[in-house]
Amino acid sequence: MDLSPIWLTLKLAAITTLLLLIVGLPIAWWLSKGRSFFKTIIEAIITMPLVLPPSVLGFYLLLAFSPRHGIGQWLQDSFDIQLVFSFQGLVLASFIYSMPFMIGPIKSALQQLPASLTQASYTLGKTQWQTFKSVLLPNIKPSLLTAVVLTFAHTLGEFGVVLMIGGNIPNVTRVASIAVYDSVERMDYAAANSYSLILFSITFVMVISVFVFNKYQARSPLE
C-alpha cells in the first residue's frame, strides 16, 4: 500500500493546525471582547464553512486562485505562486475550511471567563498581552486542546474542498480521503479499507485523548 497519502494528510493537518493556532488565537480573543456589527459580520464569515457545502467553498477558491484571472493571476505573475493543484493551495483551503473549529471553542472559552479576571490584571498594571498570556490563556487550556484536536481531525477528513482546489496528484495533493475515493473508483476495496482504517484509528485516538486530558473539566470534545 502506498502510504504517501497518509503522510501528506498528516503534514497538511499539522501545518493547518499550527497556522490556525497562530492566527486563530488573536482573532478569537478579539471576537470575545464585546460586540459590534462589524464583529458579527466577521464571525458569520468565519462560521460559513460549517454550513456551506465543501464543494461550494472549493469551487470559489478554485475560481479565486485560478492563474488565469484575478488574485491567482497576480500571484502567478508577481511571485510565481500557483495555488490551484498545489500543496500550498490545499493548506490555504484547509485553513479557511477549518477556521471555525479553531476559533469557535477558543472564543467561547474566553467569553465564559469572568470579566473581573481581566479587570483585576489591568488594575495590577498588566498590559493586554501580559493578561492574555498569564491569566486568560492558562485558564482555557481544555478548550485550547479541544480546538487543536478538532482542527487537526477535521483537516484529516476533508474531501470536497481539497478535491476541488487540489485535484488528485500523487505526492502533491492526493490526501488520504481522496485516496479512499480513488481506491473505491478502481474497485480496490482492500486499499480503501486500509486508508479508512488508518484515518479512523488516528481520529479515534485523538478524540479519546481529549476526553482523557479534559476529564477533570468533564467536557465533551465537541463543546
Partner: protein
C-alpha cells in the same frame, strides 16, 4: 485629596437611573460606601479604577487628573493602578497564592509580610480552588495591597470572614493602609461591619 464628580446612566430593571456623585475624600482616609442594591456602588468603584467610564465627570487624585471628560482625559486602569478587591474576588484559577502576589509585585519581603498578615503563609502553594471562601477573600485583599496602591477600592471585602478573623485583619489592615498612605473606599452592606475603621461615609441612594 481625591475629588470625584461624575455622572453616569445606569441600566436598571425599570429603565434607567442616573448615578451622580460629587464628593471629596481626604488623602489617607477610609470611607465606607453604602446604599441599596443596584444603586451603583460597584459601578462607582469601577469608574474610579478606569474599568468603566461615566458620560460626564472629573476625577482628581492628589492633583493628578485621572479623568476629565471635558478635556478628553481618561487614564487606563494600568496607569491608575488602584488596588481593587472585587466582590467575586477575581482570583486567577491557574495561580497559587504565592503566584498571585508574585504576579503583582517582585518585592519578596513585602509578599512575605502580606502572607503573614493574611495568615496565608502556610498555603502559598494552594490554588484558589483549594482555599476556603475566607482564605480566597484574604488573598484578594493581599493581591490588591501587593502593588502598594495610593487608592484602594474594596467591594464587600470582609463578607466571607468570620467575626474573629475580620476584627484581627481590620486592625492589621489599618496599619498597612497608613504605612502605604492609601486612601480607601470600601463598599459594605453591613451597617456595623466597619465600625471603628472608617473615617467617613458616602451614601449612594
Amino acid at each position: 485629596m481625591i475629588n470625584v464628580s461624575i455622572e453616569k446612566q445606569l441600566k436598571v430593571y425599570h429603565g434607567r437611573q442616573v448615578l451622580k456623585i460629587d464628593h471629596q475624600f481626604a488623602t489617607g482616609s477610609i470611607t465606607k460606601i453604602y446604599g441599596p442594591s443596584g444603586a451603583g456602588k460597584t459601578t462607582f468603584l469601577k469608574i474610579i479604577a478606569g474599568l468603566t467610564s461615566p458620560e460626564k465627570g472629573r476625577i482628581l487624585i492628589n492633583g493628578l487628573t485621572w479623568l476629565d471628560t471635558d478635556a478628553n482625559i481618561n487614564l487606563s486602569p494600568q496607569k491608575r493602578m488602584p488596588g481593587f478587591v472585587f466582590q467575586d474576588y477575581a482570583l486567577f484559577p491557574n495561580m497559587t497564592a504565592l503566584e498571585h502576589l508574585r504576579y503583582a509585585t517582585d518585592d519578596i519581603a513585602w509578599i512575605k509580610r502580606l502572607l503573614l498578615l493574611g495568615k496565608l503563609d502556610t498555603l502559598t502553594d494552594h490554588k484558589p480552588i483549594h482555599l476556603s471562601g475566607g482564605q480566597q477573600q484574604r488573598l484578594a485583599i493581599l493581591r490588591a495591597l501587593a502593588i502598594r496602591p495610593k487608592v484602594l477600592l474594596m467591594d464587600e471585602p470582609f463578607s466571607a470572614l468570620d467575626p474573629e478573623m475580620k476584627a484581627e485583619l481590620i486592625a492589621d489592615l489599618k496599619t498597612i493602609f497608613k504605612e502605604i498612605g492609601a486612601t480607601v473606599l470600601m463598599v459594605s452592606h453591613n451597617p456595623q461591619e466597619l465600625e471603628g475603621l472608617v473615617d467617613g461615609e458616602l451614601y449612594i441612594p
